[in-house]
Each structure stands twice: as structure tokens, then as C-alpha cells.
């Protein structure tokens, strides 16, 4: 049963790692805006490229 001492240590350590991960996420602002990223993923880069080819070859100002 002495293995429990080791396991308890492991479990506390794991929980501490998760807590630290949460702190890091909240510090870097990952919870600040949970709405806009959902939109961002829907924007289509492909269409954009084909547009450029079709419409004009003007240099960007």
C-alpha cells in the first residue's frame, strides 16, 4: 500500500499542472473573447485567392 504515497503525490502534481495551465490560459487572454474565434474559422481563404485572379491584377496600393 505504500505505493499510495507516490500516487497521492502524482495526483496532486497533475492537478497542479492543470491549475497552472488554466492560469496561463487566463493570463494570455484565451478566455477574453470566446465568441469571435467561432466566426474566424468559417472564413474561406480559398475563395479569396480565386477572387484575386478573376477580378483584377491591380497592384495593391
Amino acid at each position: 500500500m505504500n505505493i499510495l504515497y507516490f500516487l497521492v503525490g502524482c495526483s496532486v502534481l497533475m492537478a497542479l499542472v492543470f491549475l497552472a495551465a488554466f492560469f496561463w490560459a487566463s493570463k494570455t487572454g484565451q478566455h477574453d473573447d470566446v465568441y469571435t474565434p467561432g466566426f474566424r474559422i468559417l472564413f474561406d481563404d480559398e475563395e479569396n485567392k480565386s477572387d484575386e485572379n478573376h477580378i483584377s491584377n491591380k497592384p495593391q496600393s
Binding site: 496532486v12 491549475l19 473573447d33 477572387d51 484575386e52 483584377s56
Partner: protein, 794 residues
């Protein structure tokens, strides 16, 4: 794809979706309603940003006329606005009210295509903010703002932006505390489980370890997560008051010391599980209570209405300076559409001031040279020169915010804090009598056990949770209906109000739906003349008048001229036509009324268009509903021309006052409050700001939630005004729910106290009782709130 779009938007502007007028502007086969929309399209198509139009149909918004951003070249102002400045890059955050759809996100995040000096731009959609990082050596802040303005996303730069509030960081520290409390609670639960199920001899060796681990986890729970409760309790005791945090702090301390004692001296498990669970739940309650509306600010004052800088003239040189640097004697240069930031004397030019924010009077007022113009007025004619007589913060209007009357705010106590006193007293009486009983019976151990157990089990935890959960459920019901209340304490103030005071303009009437009425006669040919002239003007009033006229064709106009804020004139078939306010008309014209838009054709006065304000829909029924339960008053800054209409709508005993200055409104509220009435004020403009702040519950009414609203306790959209009686009823029911849940909590407490006074409260009982009572209360409050919401038809 593009063809489909074209068909769908044939009759509408491709950019903004407004119906097209007779004048069509076309580019690349698309039609636009105005040059503004067309030029935005042009910029976007030149930069390969036409994807903007593929995510939504007509995603744009019609833009206003050109703005002046010279002040953004001032280093002092730039430094105030920038979030961060590096030797190569700068980061700035703007609030852009026009952000409303996914196309906006797409466009604003592709700003780098328009100018390569922009590294990246990120949108926060709910806050309508865009954070832009750019190379400040290649593009100035002013240029950046002009780009945004040119594509139809003008940032709102006001003084309030400069004075950034740090409410955000407070919230962040609470979330961190919740995370820590959750971590502690989870671990303590894990180590307490063997204790719950009973330990066999093999496991006994771990009891010591688990006990000490639990104690170790209790230390941050009590002194990091629970820190705020101790601070709050200490401050309230310093003021010789007891708030709800006082017993909570006592219980947290008691739980901790009892746990420490049990673990260290008698090798028992202690109450670590209850302690960590309690702290976690308390913090959750606090978090629910702190919910905020990102897009709405309730603490706005004149600073968010005023611009951040103003142009001064010094020896003929124009120079923009920050508002707070304005000194007495400075010469200001105010252009059409700009706001006067400080009380000043008119020195040069023709002033037509729109004082609607100051007085509530909708018509522009003519000021002559040498007259004092109060801060907050908006110039609607040509550029004028003024000399400042008072600094910004002490001006007539801004002084309202520095009024000493507002100190009374601190004394407002909510339901919980009022009851905390009696609650604490009751707990102490029970705790001491149990202790004394066991001391008489010579059982010292039981006396200590009973004393601590009573205090632990009588925890007002439920009380501190039921209020935030109930009231925040009510808040979310309110905001679905367009009623945004500042916080949960404000809901209690709403429920307590018994007197309602209305402002008239913008509150009872709807400023956006003003209709035109014409006094005078215009024959068909004259209507054609006016229409031909007016179609050249893009002024909103011109468009409204154009809709009013009957005409088949347009005649060619020669010598057309438009004077901003005054009107237009032109010649058609040698007939000279004037259209505008009284200052543009030929000198000898006799006019009946000074207000309105007048028409003169060939020196003959033809009549005038008057804007007639519309009462909000359903107003009479709404007033009748309120009159049954509340005392009603009307305070208007306007003239008394609507007296008869108001008199009809309101019950006979209603006091209706006209020509009230902002200060008179404030004093009126004070008078009512001295009569011990709980006053609710409904207003809209800056002129009501003082009254709104002084009232027990100030409601700002607005037709567009992004418009400026003065500081208040709640913001109500104009369409939802009819629902006000239901809102008040629900808030009262909400307090009822809180009281019932209080009774339920007491039943649970009695069960706990039954064990506690006998000194036989095992940690397991406490640990079970607390979550059960919490779950009961939270589910009861949410069910009851939704039941009452249905009952009140919300």
C-alpha cells in the same frame, strides 16, 4: 454567386441595403444609394476585399460626412490612446459601434491588405472592439483612423476611452480564485472519501497523511480564496456595521481553526471538505453576481459624450489640444457638427446650437455674438470661434457630475446586508447557549465542539447564493427583452421604487420617428421646384422632405448652394428658391414661426415644414397601468406646447413641469426623496444625467443601444418601454423568491443546529448538508424565477 447577389439587391444599395432613391450611383454594375457607400466599395474593390460582400448581403452602414482627425497627430493624445508602444510597432484598441456582422469581422481582420504597415487586426465582436498593431514609423495613428473611417468603420474616440477602467482585472483575479478553490475542493474531496466510507486497519496509516494534506489545502482556501471576505468584514466592522460578509468571514475562520485543531491535536479529519466547498460556492455566487454587459457601459459621464480634443486658435494658427488642457481664455474653433466642450463666449460666426443634450429642446437655438454657450451644445451651422470662460470640469453641465449630492450612494444596503445583523445575532445566541449548557455539564470537549459546530452549520452560504442566483436570472430575462440592468443590487432598487418621474423628449416621445407636417400650401409645380432643388442635398432632413413631396420630374438647377446647418438655395427657370431655417431666407421675409424648415420661392414665403414628435406607441395604456400603483411626474426641459396631450394621457393628479433645467430636475428628485419616496427616473439625454444619478433607480431610454446614454442604473430600449410595469412586477416577485429561499435555508440550518448543539456534528453531516441545501436553493430560485417571468408575461 455574384449574379445572384445582384438580382437580390437590385432595388437596394449594394453596400448598405438602404432602398435606392431616384438618383442612382453605379460602379462595376452595382448600385449605391450615396457617394459614401460608393467610395467605400471603391476602396474595397481596389484592395481585393470584395469578399466583404459575399458573407452577408449589403453588410455596410451608411456613413456620415467627413470628420476631422487632426488631433490624432498630437503626441500627447497618441500616447493616451495607445495600449502599447515598441520601437517599431504600436498596438491600439478602438471601439467601433458599426461592427455588427461576420463581414465586419472579415474586413477588419484583413486591414493589412489596405495598408502594409498594419501587421494584424483582431476583433472582439461582443465588445465591438478592434485591436490593431501597426508600424508607427510608416503609418500614423491619424492615417490609421482615416482608413477605418473611409471604409465605414469610424472608431468612437472619447475621453472615456482614455480613462480606461480596470474592472477587467478585478474579474480576472476572481476567476483565478475560483480556479484555485475548485482545485482545492476537488483534492480535499478525494482525500476525504476514505473517511466517509470508514477506514479499515490497513488504511489507518493514511489517515494522518490525508488529514495533514487537507489542512495544507485549507490554508490557501481560507487565506487566499477567502481573503476578500476578511477584508470586507474588517471594513464593515470599522464602520460599525455588519454586512453579510462578516458572518461568512467568521465561519471561514472557524472552519479553518477547527480543522487545524482536529488534525493537529486529536487526529480527526476536521472540516476541510466543508471549508473548501463553501469557499468555492461563495466565489461562484460572487462571480454570477459580477456578470457584466460588455457592450454597454452604465457609468458613462460627459467624458464619453465629449470629443477627446478640440481645435484651438492661437495667433491665427489652428492647433488641436486635449480637452483637459483647455484653459480659461483659450480660443476654440468649432466646426459644423462638433461639440462645445466648455462654457464659452461666442466671438465670431453664426451659432445655431443644437442643445438637445443639455436642455432637451430639439430645435437648434440661435446665439448671437458675446452670448455664453454652455458646454454640450452641438454647432449645426458654419464654423465659429469661441473664448473659454470655464474649464471643462467646472462647466454648467459637467458640474452636474461633481455634485456633492451623490455621496448618499454608499448608504444603500441590500436585503442580505440588512438581514446579516439579525442572522449573526441569532447564531451567536444559539452558539453561546449551547456552549454554556455543556460547560455546566462539565463537558469541555463538547462545549468547544458545539460552539464551533453551530457557527459552521448556521452558515449563511445559502443566503449569499440565493440572492445573486435569483437576481441574475431576472437580469437575463430582462436583457432578452431589451432592459439592461446594471447589477443585482439595482434590481432591488427597482423593486423598491414607488414614484416614477418621466422626462418628455426622447423618453415619452421617440426622436427617431419624428414626422413632418407642412404649414402652408404648395401647388404641384412648386412641389416639383422644391423637389428638384432638394434632391441635391444629402442632409437627412432633405431626404425626409423629398419623400413628402409629389413630383413627376426633376428640373435643372442652376447656382445651387448648400450652407451647412442653415439650408439650401438655388435657381430654377430664373426662380430663386430658398429652403432652410430662418437665417438663410432673404432678409425681409415675414415668417410666422421661427422653428422649422421654411420655403421661399421668388421672395414669396410659402410655408414651413415642422418636425412633429411622435409619442411612443401604446403610451396611454402603459401610463394607465403604471398610474394604478405609482405616483407619476413629468419633467420636461421643453416648452409647454404638448401640455394638453400630456394632460390627457396622465391621470389628473400627475404633476407636469416644463422648462426644467438639468439642475431643477436634480432638485426635484431630491425633494421627492426627502418625502421618503423611492424615485425611479426615466430620461435620455445629458440634461437628465444629474437626475438619473440622484434617483434611486435611473433608467436611460435609448432607441439604439450603441448610442450615448448617460450614467444610470439601467438602460431600456425604446420599444420595450411598454413592458416597464412587467419588469417592476418581476423584480418584486424576485425579492419574494429570495425571501422564500431564505426560509428554506433556515429549515436546513435548524437540522444542522439540532446536531450541532448536541456536539455531535460529524464532518460528514456538514459536508452533505451544505451541498444539498445549495442545490435545493439554486434549483428552487431558477424554477421560481422562470415561473414568475411567465406569470408576468416576460
Amino acid at each position: 454567386m455574384q449574379n445572384q447577389n445582384k438580382i437580390a439587391t437590385k432595388e437596394l444599395c449594394y453596400h448598405c441595403g438602404e432602398p435606392l432613391d431616384d438618383i442612382k450611383l453605379s460602379l462595376d454594375g452595382y448600385d449605391f444609394c450615396c457617394t459614401g457607400c460608393k467610395s467605400v466599395y471603391k476602396i474595397l474593390s481596389e484592395n481585393n476585399l470584395c469578399n466583404y460582400y459575399s458573407y452577408n448581403d449589403s453588410p455596410g452602414k451608411r456613413t456620415q460626412n467627413a470628420n476631422h482627425f487632426e488631433y490624432l497627430d498630437e503626441p500627447g493624445i497618441i500616447n493616451q490612446l495607445l495600449d502599447y508602444k515598441h520601437d517599431k510597432a504600436s498596438i491600439v484598441t478602438f471601439y467601433i459601434p458599426a461592427i455588427h456582422c461576420s463581414s465586419c469581422i472579415w474586413l477588419l481582420e484583413h486591414l493589412y491588405k489596405i495598408n502594409e504597415a498594419i501587421f494584424s487586426s483582431r476583433i472582439d465582436f461582443l465588445k465591438r472592439q478592434v485591436t490593431i498593431s501597426f508600424k508607427h514609423e510608416e503609418i500614423s495613428l491619424r492615417k490609421l483612423v482615416e482608413i477605418l473611417n473611409n471604409i465605414g468603420y469610424e472608431p468612437l474616440i472619447s475621453l472615456q476611452d482614455v480613462v480606461k477602467e480596470n474592472s477587467h482585472s478585478i474579474n480576472k483575479s476572481l476567476i483565478q480564485k475560483i480556479a484555485v478553490a475548485g482545485f482545492l475542493m476537488g483534492n480535499v474531496m478525494l482525500f476525504s472519501f476514505p473517511e466517509y466510507f470508514g477506514l479499515n486497519s490497513l488504511e489507518k496509516q493514511f489517515q494522518h497523511l490525508f488529514g495533514w494534506l487537507n489542512l495544507a489545502f485549507s490554508i490557501p482556501a481560507a487565506f487566499y480564496c477567502g481573503k476578500d471576505y476578511f477584508i470586507s468584514a474588517a471594513t464593515s466592522l470599522k464602520h460599525r456595521q455588519i454586512n453579510l460578509d462578516t458572518p461568512l468571514a467568521l465561519i471561514i475562520a472557524m472552519l479553518f481553526f477547527r480543522t487545524a485543531y482536529d488534525v493537529i491535536f486529536i487526529n480527526e479529519p476536521g472540516f476541510a471538505d466543508t471549508l473548501t466547498g463553501l469557499v468555492f460556492l461563495l466565489l461562484m455566487g460572487k462571480w454570477v453576481k459580477q456578470r457584466t454587459y460588455h457592450h454597454i457601459s452604465f457609468d458613462r459621464d460627459y467624458r464619453s459624450y465629449f470629443p477627446i480634443a478640440v481645435t484651438t486658435i492661437n495667433n491665427g494658427i489652428e492647433k488641436p489640444i486635449a480637452i483637459e488642457e483647455i484653459n480659461i481664455g483659450d480660443r476654440l474653433w468649432i466646426r459644423n457638427g462638433e461639440i462645445i466642450p466648455a462654457d464659452a463666449i461666442l466671438m465670431k460666426g453664426d451659432a445655431w446650437m443644437d442643445m438637445s443634450f443639455v436642455t432637451g429642446e430639439a430645435e437648434p437655438i440661435h446665439k448671437v455674438l458675446g452670448e455664453i454657450i454652455y458646454a454640450g451644445g452641438r454647432q449645426t451651422a458654419e464654423a465659429i470661434e469661441l473664448e473659454v470662460v470655464k474649464p471643462v470640469s467646472q462647466s454648467y453641465l459637467t458640474g452636474l457630475w461633481n455634485n456633492e449630492n451623490y455621496q448618499t450612494d454608499l448608504k444603500k444596503q441590500n436585503f442580505n446586508d440588512r438581514n446579516a445583523k439579525y442572522f449573526s445575532l441569532g447564531v451567536f445566541i444559539i452558539a453561546f447557549s449551547a456552549t454554556i449548557y455543556w460547560l455546566f455539564n462539565n463537558d469541555n470537549h463538547k462545549a468547544w465542539a458545539a460552539f464551533t459546530a453551530v457557527i459552521i452549520v448556521a452558515c449563511p452560504c445559502v443566503l449569499s447564493l440565493s440572492t445573486p442566483f435569483t437576481l441574475s436570472a431576472i437580469l437575463s430575462i430582462f436583457d432578452k427583452k431589451g432592459f439592461y440592468v446594471k447589477n443585482t443590487d439595482a434590481v432591488e432598487a427597482l423593486a423598491a421604487s414607488d414614484t416614477i418621474i418621466f422626462d418628455k423628449t426622447g423618453t415619452l416621445t421617440c426622436t427617431e420617428n419624428a414626422t413632418l407636417s407642412y404649414t402652408g400650401i404648395l401647388d404641384h409645380y412648386e412641389q416639383t421646384l422644391v423637389a428638384s432643388l432638394i434632391r441635391n442635398s444629402s442632409h437627412p432632413l432633405s431626404r425626409q422632405i423629398l419623400k413628402h413631396l409629389h413630383y413627376e420630374e426633376f428640373l435643372p438647377v442652376t447656382t445651387y448652394s448648400e450652407i451647412p446647418g442653415k439650408g439650401i438655395s438655388g435657381t430654377i427657370h430664373h426662380q430663386k428658391i430658398y429652403l432652410g431655417n430662418s437665417s438663410i431666407l432673404p432678409k425681409n421675409t415675414a415668417i410666422k414661426e421661427s422653428n422649422g424648415t421654411h420655403i421661399v420661392i421668388d421672395n414669396q414665403y410659402k410655408g414651413s415644414f415642422q418636425a412633429v414628435q411622435q409619442w411612443r406607441s401604446g403610451l396611454p395604456q402603459f401610463i394607465q397601468k403604471l398610474a394604478k400603483k405609482f405616483q407619476l411626474h413629468v419633467l420636461s426641459g421643453d416648452t409647454d406646447q404638448e401640455y394638453a396631450a400630456l394632460k390627457n394621457m396622465f391621470p389628473t393628479k400627475t404633476k407636469i413641469n416644463f422648462r426644467q433645467s438639468p439642475h431643477q430636475k436634480l432638485d426635484y428628485i431630491l425633494q421627492e426623496q426627502r418625502k421618503n419616496r423611492k424615485v425611479m427616473m426615466l430620461g435620455d439625454g445629458l440634461n437628465d444625467a444629474g437626475a438619473l444619478k440622484q434617483s434611486d433607480f435611473g433608467v436611460a431610454i435609448t432607441d439604439n443601444i450603441n448610442n450615448f446614454t448617460p450614467g444610470c442604473d439601467a438602460i431600456l430600449t425604446g420599444n420595450s418601454l411598454n413592458l416597464l410595469p412587467n419588469f417592476i412586477a418581476l423584480s418584486r416577485d424576485g425579492l419574494k423568491v429570495v425571501k422564500i429561499s431564505f426560509a428554506i435555508a433556515i429549515i436546513y440550518n435548524c437540522v444542522g443546529i439540532y446536531f450541532a448543539v448536541q456536539g455531535t456534528l460529524y464532518p460528514l453531516i456538514a459536508a452533505v448538508l451544505m451541498p444539498i441545501s445549495t442545490i435545493t436553493i439554486i434549483s428552487f430560485t431558477s424554477i421560481a424565477t422562470h415561473y414568475f417571468a411567465k406569470k408576468n408575461k416576460l
